[in-house]
Symmetry: C2
Subunit: 716 residues, 2 copies
């Protein structure tokens, strides 16, 4: 084998003893990344090629050529590490890529792209600036996320990502625009693929997440903690080869919608694809039609023993076809946990390896290679390297996920259930991309140097982490923050959490009037904090809210999960939050039953309560009278009804004819409390009333401040 | 003369020494009012008449028969003086009259009116209840506005008003439904009227408003203080008689729109009126067409020497016609001040008079009488009594006006410029109606037993008080309250008034950086408080706001006027406020020039400032950059720009492309402060920044709480 195995410089460690040595390490890593990027672009032999758009959903290459340099400047300015721009026009035009997340968003904007020389000159300026920054910056070890050194590392890893994505775009350029050189060698080993087979993988507890203590740079989505315990399963020994996949193509797999997901069918209808993106069918030298494969720098007869390169939708369709054809069942793509389980068969990571164990890190080829070339782990091949492997897992943050403040949209826009993880890296994955904890995810129709392996498993459901997307409904987010998140804010300086105020009044009333603490109803429980507090004192607690969108968060918290939500910081800028019960020192409350329910039409099973708390139910019901008129039937003898309301009736919420107050009735002003009292008085005695203080954060500078009324009524 | 002069009981005084004596007085007054009401209704000889609607804009008489009794119950319940209703259905259906304010609101609702006997029985129950309350209530002297005794007096005076208005409706019933009796005698003195003539009235300073110390009950609109100094003027010696008015009718006055206001023309088009409402033209005994007049209980050939009864629109048209016809000019209706000037010629008031000086208080007739029957004052007739006299003054509250909390819509809905005052009382005006300070106002098309006299005066403009209607624009009201009104609220307990916080920062910066205090611009001055504070320290202060709706309040305050506004209490219920500069211990600031101006397109004269303060201008401009980019040209050397903003940009206010921040620019988060700094930095140095605290009251229980950012920039 003609293995070059010319390892690139490893990513710098965050720790170290010598500051000056670390400076040099950073500079070397920066410069080598920089040089590698320019080396890739040097394959282009005609500047015209920079302005073509072989993939209409992406910018032309001139954008990417400038983009990685402008990224440094834009992030350095954002972090206030530099004051001045170098080239405002370039830093604007090369700042925002076409959203790679959607295949049907055509971008028809007109761009006034710079010349190649302009970008080359600009890159030179940026390089000088970064080198000078590295030489002169304050540097303390270990390198922390808020440091300038971290931003430099971020810039390097960002550029390494674009080495890979640019190579994918170049793979779509007409070959005439590219000239191969010895730094970018295509593998020449082609032939028949081995028969794939299933190999047993031992189940284990898989732990997710790069530890905070890890010694290398990581993107935000890598940190945090989660775990899944896997049963034994089987996996394909090799990546699926062109040879294995061609059977699906020849079986008219692309024409049979039964194998395709809905999304896959839509993609097929849009693209009219009939084979993988980098295949083509041509008349060969013998005058017969034959398949060819386009690599970065050449086109060759379809190398049957190389991995097929497809998107998730195609890989998924293949598995479905395989299940159907061979009646095996249970063949599917691995999940992230299953891939990690395989990955655990490899020792060490990129920074430990003396020589890399596969076709990765540009150590061998500027192309794929045979699927049976790199044996890894227990009788498997290509656990890492060659091409990325699609998984059945959509990306999400682990527990404890936090965005990096200088790149808050690196990951969060992909936490939407529409971006699936690819694992393992390809021949051109370097730096962070090639490391164990890295997590890259793309829309399921997207092309990278990516293929797949499959697994066979009885695991039901899929061994995926529960998805935990950011709640973005503004009202729900405000409630989540008010219930669980505001302890992190230092303003406004209100006395006590609002839910806590309510719960304390309920408990104080129960004590004062010697009410049994068997059964309590928390009506209008929202995202549940009052329920969690009261459940510590009552035998049974029913939390009911009109909206399932709120209830589901209570249920999730009860299950020990954390909840993610966004909150406006200013305008379109949002803050990302994650909360869990332990943040507010509350137990899970196994005696709570959360359910969706309509206060104005509450099921009869909701009865026999010692205390009914109605939180903001009056003003949020379409007809509060329907609730109030019969609530006495739901209470035990001497039971308490505790009503919290700001009497803020609103025509958006309820027809004015149903308002309890804030209206003229027969010509006289009737307040909400008047209306409430009129209905309750026949069955209840008013024991006490209190004014509460509630603040609801709207954004960084604006809050709603209100003084709701809490009234305690005892059944006569 | 057959003068009966049987004086009714006088209204009780508020003061007194004997509680028991006062109880008796109150009871007598209540019972006599009650009896008088029933006496009036006893003129109806057929219960069918109770359900007719001779005036389609008013309820049938059965409503009014029940209404004055239900009024007691509804107000007593509102004031929490009683707990129970006597008859919920009746108290609902007889509670709200058809709005007497508009002549084109047809009321087509279906009412399920009670029977006459039901109302009689109900009145009996109410009477028993009120008598018992009078006997048993806590009573301290003097009677205060918040006492039960005041509510009883209010009920009496309310019923006396309806004695009069019901008599007007009865005057529209077919005569066959009414049977005269000796308690309701029509005057029989008819004949030719004296020639009217103008009599000189000496000018004087007329003082408005019933003193708080007055010893009788008054409606809310009577209290407060104002004054106008009048020049000498002339007034018609007599009320305008039928004889004087018939010339206008015969001159086709009702057909010639030139004499009529726009409102008068609309009314004519709607009603097709050709003569006064209580006239009709019939064939008389001689077979000739002749005019007749309908009185309460009979119809007689037009009594030429009685006062004509018309609405304001007709009276006004008559004056216009008279000016045109006789080329005299300056003939018009008197204003409230001019009527008061005449009224000052009469000594004492109803409670002082041994015998009443005119056809008023039901002392003589149940009808009008000749205009030359009651000589009063200096050669005038009917300053009070006979029929009400329309004025040129629309009603408004005097300075210091406050609504009575149990009847907050007695006056306020009429403070709209559409309700003109009638003065002097009619033959059936009793109690408060017949007193000097009383102020009743009706829509200008409305009919009462009302006519007019005219004046001739050179006074320009009309000697009316400036109108001071309640501001009701929600945003402006909230600003007025935040600037001037919040001292009356005890919540939320914020440190210091927001305008005060800003002004203090401006003054502190001026001091600290030794800035000259010649000229200051307060841009976004809203309703002006910061301008008023700063004007004490600067030689010249320009207050500029985008909206004239705000500026006009600053101007008004500067002129020493008070400002009225409403603020939501709860839902449709509002609180009424009145503020003036002295409430917040501020001088008028003669060195302030308030003007409307657009920050994004500010005139060049706004320059040469030592300090420019921009309050919430950034987020309220359609393009804040237009202001910021050139603001340095408006400052003197070393001048300060002080910017206050919460950076709350909003697409309703400005296109997102103009936002300074809260957006992604070239992919990176840019805050409002970032955007502000980017524009200002070339010309300014940031000296300091502070966080302010602002609360804006929304209603009784809800506030907006924000923490705006104040930044101080010095011109480089």
């Amino acid at each position: 084998m003609n293995l070059r195995n010319k390892n690139l410089i490893k990513p710098p460690c965050l720790n170290g003893k010598s500051i000056e040595h670390k400076r040099q390490e950073l500079k070397d890593y920066f410069l080598q990344t920089w040089a590698q990027y320019e080396s890739l672009f040097s394959l282009i032999n005609d500047s015209k090629a920079y302005y073509l758009r072989p993939e209409p959903l992406r910018h032309p290459l001139i954008f990417y050529f400038g983009h990685t340099a402008t990224f440094y400047i834009n992030k350095l300015r954002l972090g206030k590490f530099i004051d001045q721009r170098l080239n405002g026009k370039l830093e604007a035009i090369c700042a925002v890529g076409v959203d790679e997340m959607s295949w049907d968003d055509l971008n028809s904007e007109h761009y006034d792209w710079p010349s190649v020389n302009e970008v080359i000159e600009y890159r030179q300026q940026v390089s000088v600036l970064i080198e000078k920054l590295i030489d002169t910056m304050e540097l303390t070890l270990p390198i922390k996320q808020n440091s300038l050194a971290w931003v430099i590392l971020m810039g390097c890893e960002h550029e390494r990502i674009h080495i890979e994505t640019s190579s994918v775009i170049m793979r779509m350029l007409p070959l005439s625009y590219l000239t191969a050189n010895e730094n970018w060698p295509t593998c020449d080993e082609t032939g028949v693929a081995p028969e794939n087979e299933l190999v047993k993988v031992d189940g284990q507890k898989v732990v997710f997440g790069k530890p905070e203590s890890d010694d290398t740079f990581g993107w935000d989505n890598e940190y945090g903690y989660d775990s899944i315990t896997l049963n034994n399963f089987e996996t394909s020994k090799y990546l699926v080869s062109n040879q294995e996949y061609i059977a699906f193509v020849k079986a008219n797999g692309y024409q049979q919608t039964q194998y395709w997901t809905n999304e896959g069918q839509q993609w097929l209808a849009f693209t009219h694809a009939t084979m993988p993106r980098f295949w083509c069918e041509k008349v060969n030298d013998s005058g017969n039609k034959a398949y060819y494969q386009r690599n970065l720098l050449n086109e060759i007869p379809l190398p049957l023993n190389w991995p097929v390169e497809v998107n998730y939708l195609e890989a998924k369709a293949f598995c479905n076809w395989k299940n159907k054809t061979y009646r095996e069942g249970n063949i599917r793509l691995p999940t992230e946990s299953e891939w990690l389980c395989m990955r655990n068969q490899l020792e060490g990571d990129l920074i430990d390896w003396q020589s890399v164990p596969g076709n990765i890190d540009l150590a061998f080829y500027a192309s794929s290679c045979p699927v049976d070339k790199f044996s890894q782990g227990n009788d498997l091949f290509d656990i890492v390297g060659n091409v990325w492997q699609w998984t059945e897992s959509s990306i999400d943050g682990f527990q404890g996920f936090e965005v990096h403040p200088l790149y808050d949209d690196f990951s969060t826009p992909t936490f939407d259930g529409k971006h699936n993880l690819i694992k393992g890296g390809s021949w051109i994955s370097t730096g962070n991309e090639a490391m164990k904890h890295s997590r890259y995810a793309f829309r399921r129709h997207f092309f990278q140097h990516a293929g797949f392996r499959y697994v066979k498993s009885d695991h039901q459901p899929l061994p995926n982490l529960a998805s935990n997307h950011y709640e973005t409904n503004v009202d729900i987010c405000r409630q989540l923050h008010a219930h669980y998140g505001e302890i992190r804010s230092n303003k406004p300086p209100t006395a006590k959490n609002y839910s806590q105020q309510i719960a304390e009044q309920v408990l104080a009333s129960a004590e004062k009037y010697q009410i049994s603490k068997q059964k309590c109803l928390d009506l209008g429980c929202s995202v549940g904090r009052v329920s969690f507090i009261l459940a510590q004192y009552f035998s049974q607690l029913d939390g009911v809210d009109f909206s399932a969108g709120y209830i589901r968060h209570g249920v999730n918290l009860q299950q020990g999960n954390s909840i993610r939500y966004t909150l406006e910081n200013e305008g379109d800028i949002v803050d990302f939050h994650e909360v869990k019960l332990t943040d507010v020192d509350l137990p899970r409350g196994d005696n709570i039953h959360f359910s969706q329910g309509d206060a104005s039409n509450l099921k009869s099973i909701f009865s026999g309560y010692d205390i009914i708390l109605a939180q903001h139910v009056l003003e949020q019901s379409y007809d509060p009278r329907l609730f109030l008129k019969k609530v006495h039937q739901r209470l035990n003898a001497n039971g308490l009804l505790i009503v919290v309301s700001n009497y803020h009736f609103d025509e958006q919420q309820a027809n004015k004819s149903t308002w309890l107050g804030g209206i003229k009735v027969n010509g006289e002003n009737v307040t909400g409390f008047d209306g409430l009292s009129a209905i309750l008085t026949p069955h209840f005695t008013l024991l006490e009333q209190h004014q509460l203080t509630r603040t609801l954060k709207i954004n960084q500078r604006n809050f709603e401040l209100s003084f709701p009324h809490l009234t305690v009524w005892q059944l006569k």
